[in-house]
């Protein structure tokens, strides 16, 4: 796939820029975020980073003046590193990581006496792999699992680990052929750009059962003393700035795992030390408490502690901030579900046959909401600074529980979709959610949310707004209740519905009317057809 790189918006009033210089040549392999060109506007010079890794195809030449938004180059993201010509200026020198056939042959012919059947040879180069940029607003990721073990031989592009961010899980491919040295452990949370692992680059494929040639080892031994991650006298030594920070936080440096050379504690380590540290004293406290307990209660009383996943932490942070930062309240209503249930009963088979998806409640609710949102645009709006943003489309967020927790994928332009299209989209997104395969794009940008606590049996609840949206509709279980219909007590399938909304932007009249409208549309689905 080829990615077009356009001149970015660099500031108000700047409409065109001049290409001051290309730092990479046409056909070079470029890394994501690597600076590939310098651009000049009439106000400033700035750098242009590659938006993806791949082979560069230059379109606009040096000294060309191009408009903002114009395409200046393309990056062929599918081209392998091997296809690059000689991007030797790349500091990581991955070029060497490529097993060059000729060299391999020469290697064999040389037949070092010490190579003892080993097909591979360390180049002495260590490739450091860092957490890649996975999306805007994502600042840290958690290593969910290592698929390869420390010391394993890994091949270029082989998936070596699974990493999760608060929005998605993604796979981490090896960036070179060689021996894997794991640095970040499973469960560790790392910032973008932090080192995950190192690969001791080798040439000539996987080593055979026997270990590296002994000569090789002794050769590199002296350097390993200082460069490898082994414990040395300096392990755990805090740099001057780090020492000050740790002292101020009241953290003993011996409790910190340094990421600096030979485990030295860097300033960054000290700055990040808090979280892990919080655990230790708590654990200690817990122990103390145990000892203090005068008479131990009978029965097993085990506890266990788990680190919060990034997703959990993000959810927690956002929910609290919504509670704190909005004027949230909830309005309720009840919906007689009989008409919808009748329609479903009547058309279930036909619908399934024709569209290959079941006719569920979601499509009714989605359609009802999109119609009601059109009539009450404030409910579909959001606050941005001092402005209110109204969308004339509905991107419907659907709360879905996944094995990793709550995720909220988005059905785009739900107002334009037919019933079957809504159902199909719900199924597609729910499946992706279960598999943890939702992309960030699929989870951002919703304008309104529907959550269904009813599937777990909830009778009534007050959902929390999915910020920065301003309202959320809560569906609940359907229970047969006695209701008065035309002066008679009837048993009807009733669902309570709740609408939590941000009173800052939505007035009581609008929110209540919106929910009443949804109720009307659901109780008389013909209205959905007619739009009345």
């Amino acid at each position: 796939m080829s990615l077009q790189i356009k001149v970015p918006e660099v500031g108000e009033s700047i409409t065109e820029v001049t290409i001051a210089s290309w730092l990479k040549k046409d056909g070079d392999y470029v890394e994501q975020d690597e600076i590939i060109a310098e651009l000049e506007s009439d106000k400033a010079t700035f750098e242009l980073p590659a938006e993806a890794a791949g082979v560069l195809k230059i379109i606009a030449n040096e000294e060309d003046t191009v408009e903002v938004g114009a395409v200046i180059c393309e990056i062929d993201t599918e081209a392998k590193e091997g296809s690059k010509s000689s991007a030797s200026s790349d500091k990581k020198e991955q070029v060497k990581a490529e097993p060059k056939k000729e060299e391999k042959k020469a290697e064999k012919e040389e037949s070092k006496p010490s190579s003892s059947g080993s097909g591979s040879k360390k180049t002495g180069e260590v490739h450091e792999m860092v957490v890649p940029t996975v999306g805007e607003s994502i600042t840290e990721v958690t290593i969910s699992s290592w698929l390869k073990s420390d010391g394993d031989y890994v091949e270029l592009d082989e998936i070596i680990a699974e990493v999760e961010s608060d929005k998605a899980t993604f796979e981490l491919p090896a960036e070179a052929n060689g021996i894997l040295k794991i640095i970040a452990q499973e469960g560790d949370t790392l910032e973008i750009g932090a080192t995950i692992c190192k690969i001791e680059v080798t040439e000539g494929g996987a080593p055979s059962a026997k270990k590296e040639g002994s000569a090789d080892q002794s050769e590199s031994k002296s350097s390993e003393v200082t460069t490898s991650g082994e414990e040395t006298y300096a392990t755990g030594h805090a740099s001057p700035a780090a020492a000050k920070i740790l002292k101020e936080k009241g953290i003993d440096p011996s409790n910190i795992k340094g990421t600096g050379r030979d485990g030295r504690i860097t300033k960054e380590d000290a700055e990040n030390a808090e979280k892990q540290q919080a655990k230790a004293p708590e654990a200690a406290k817990q122990e103390e408490k145990k000892q203090e307990t005068p008479s131990a209660p009978k029965g097993e009383r085990n506890q266990h502690r788990e680190k919060m996943s990034s997703l959990r932490k993000t959810v927690a942070r956002r929910l609290v901030s919504v509670k704190n930062e909005t004027a949230m309240l909830t309005t309720f209503n009840e919906v007689d579900m009989q008409p919808i249930m009748e329609i479903r009963k009547k058309y279930k088979e036909q619908f399934k046959e024709k569209y290959e998806v079941g006719l569920g409640f979601m499509s009714f609710f989605t359609k009802a909401c999109t119609l009601a949102l059109k009539e009450f645009p404030a409910v579909n709006a959001q606050i941005d600074g001092n402005e209110m943003v109204f969308s004339d489309y509905v991107d419907m967020s659907i709360a879905v529980s996944s094995p990793k927790g709550l995720v909220v994928p988005v059905i785009r332009n739900a107002e334009k979709l037919s019933f079957n299209e809504v159902e199909a989209e719900v199924i597609r997104l729910a499946k992706k959610a279960r598999d943890g395969k939702l992309s960030i794009d699929e989870m951002t940008g919703g304008t309104f949310t529907i959550t269904n606590g009813g599937i777990f049996g909830s009778m009534l609840s007050t959902p929390i707004i999915n910020a920065p949206q301003s309202a959320i509709l809560g569906m609940h279980n359907i229970v047969e209740r006695p209701v008065a219909v035309n002066g008679e007590v009837k048993i009807r399938p009733i669902m309570y519905v709740a609408l939590s909304y941000d009173h800052r932007i939505i007035d009581g009249k609008e929110s209540v009317s919106f929910l009443v409208r949804v109720k009307e549309l659901l109780e008389d689905p013909t209205r959905l057809l007619l739009g009345i």
């Binding site: 002296s222 350097s223 003393v225 040395t232 006298y233 300096a234 740099s239 002292k247 101020e248």
Partner: protein, 467 residues
């Protein structure tokens, strides 16, 4: 009455740095200075003016001794001491004005006069005309520095028997300057006058010059000073100094107790400095100086009085401008609840003779005393391309590392630009680098710093490249 969060007494490198850091941290800050110009000893009569004269005299010395070999011929080369001292004064002026600017920039109130405690929160400032004002302050930092030590039998008359202060203001090139004390100040000022034509005799009581530094440095220093033409007398004890009007007579005894008298036109007494607290009325703040005149402080540089701190030459430790600066920052940060740290072992010692001398970390003598197993590696300037190019081939770098772990414990340099080079040594040791670590870092070629790398290679596995 003005009211401040913190008042600093003394505007030397300890005091003014403390004041700036306090202001940076948001405290309303005042600084009290007895003299008309800020900067204390260091800027007015210490580090800066002595460097100005050292540079001037070294230029002259080079013009006289090495220019010919460089292919530069001069005639009528002579010293204009008036100009030399005048230029020095201009350098000082620029620096002290710089401090005044920094005070203004950081909104620090400068009070000129002698500061004395009325109580621990009130300070009286008495200016040169005797007019007194009072300052109320929450906290105080005492940074009053030090003064040259006087010998009981050689009181400063400031004419023939002089301290470093007068030695920076001479109006003539002395015929024979007798220097008592072979420490940093004596050797620096002795060098100045030796280079511009004086005979210089240095008399030192101990068996080594710059005795607090690594022994190798003292030995090499003696060689350098002798090469410069200084008469260096170690293990000699001065017994009498007499101002004879146009001459000064100095009598001393050698090791065997044999007495000898020499004559010169100036006698520079540079046997050390002592803490200066005169006029502070410390007792009113509940503070008592110790038997050596120092203000006792705890690990946080706090005095016996809770709100009063003291830093620099007036407290324990080496009397160095950069030590005082670190302490100034330390105290300011401590006051606002931060927890800074000073690694005193890594405060470098520097001597600005030529070649320069600089050292940080442990000396070989200290490690011997401690019984710690160590190894050393040295590399001479002679073997450096850079040094040959500039004809600065005197000197060496000595690296001392732990025998087992290879951790660098001390680096000592005598040679051109040692004073600037020592910062790298401090960096390496602050991060507890091993000798091999430094050996594996790229050092630009050709530079004097290559000698450090080579000395590290020597210390690591005795495998220097250029030896």
């Amino acid at each position: 009455m003005s009211k401040y969060d913190v008042t600093v007494i003394g505007s030397g490198p300890g005091g003014y740095v403390a004041a700036i850091r306090c202001a940076q941290l948001g405290m309303k800050t005042a600084i009290i200075e007895k003299y008309d110009t800020l900067g204390g000893t260091c800027l007015n009569v210490g580090c800066i003016p002595s460097k100005a004269l050292l540079d001037s005299s070294e230029h002259f010395h080079n013009a006289e001794t090495t220019f010919k070999e460089h292919g530069i011929n001069l005639s009528n080369l002579k010293v204009d001491i008036k100009q030399m001292i005048g230029r020095k004064a201009e350098v000082v002026k620029q620096n002290v004005e710089g401090i005044a600017f920094l005070m203004k920039k950081n909104k620090i109130d400068v009070h000129t006069g002698v500061g004395s405690f009325i109580d621990k929160n009130t300070i009286k400032v008495t200016d040169s005309k005797g007019k007194a004002t009072e300052i109320s302050t929450d906290k105080v930092i005492i940074a009053t520095g030090s003064k040259p030590v006087e010998l009981p039998f050689a009181k400063f008359d400031k004419k023939r028997i002089i301290s470093s202060t007068e030695a920076l203001e001479l109006k003539e090139v002395p015929k024979h300057m007798i220097v008592i004390g072979g420490g940093v100040i004596g050797l620096e000022l002795g060098s100045v006058y030796k280079r511009i034509g004086s005979d210089v005799t240095v008399i030192e009581f101990l068996d080594s010059l710059i005795a607090t530094m690594d022994g190798t440095m003292g030995k090499e220093m003696k060689k350098s000073m002798k090469k410069l033409g200084m008469d260096v007398k170690l293990k000699h004890k001065v017994t009498k100094v007499e101002n004879k009007g146009k001459e000064v007579e100095v009598t001393f005894e050698n090791e065997k107790g044999e007495s000898q008298t020499i004559k010169g036109d100036y006698c520079l007494v540079s046997v050390g400095r002592k803490p200066y607290t005169a006029g502070l009325d410390l007792e009113k703040a509940g503070i008592k100086a110790d038997e050596r005149g120092r203000i006792p402080v705890d690990n946080h540089l706090k005095t016996e009085s809770d709100n009063i701190y003291a830093i620099g030459d007036v407290v324990r430790g080496a009397m160095l401008a950069h030590k005082a600066e670190e302490e100034g920052v330390f105290v300011a940060e401590t006051m606002v609840g931060q927890k800074p740290h000073i690694n005193y072992k890594l405060i470098p010692n520097v001597v600005y003779t030529w070649p320069e001398v600089a050292g940080a970390g442990f000396t070989e003598e200290e490690l011997k005393e401690e019984g710690r197993a160590y190894k050393t590696g040295s590399f001479p300037y002679k073997a450096l391309g850079r040094a040959r190019a500039s004809m600065d081939t005197d000197g060496l770098v000595k690296v001392i590392a732990d025998k087992a772990t290879d951790e660098i414990l001390g680096i000592h340099i005598i040679g051109a630009r040692a004073a600037d080079m020592i910062a790298s040594a401090v960096t390496a040791m602050e991060f507890r680098a091993s000798a091999e670590d430094v050996s594996r870092m790229s050092h630009a070629h050709p530079t004097y710093m290559e000698a450090v790398k080579e000395a590290c290679l020597t210390a690591t596995e005795n495998r220097p490249i250029h030896m």
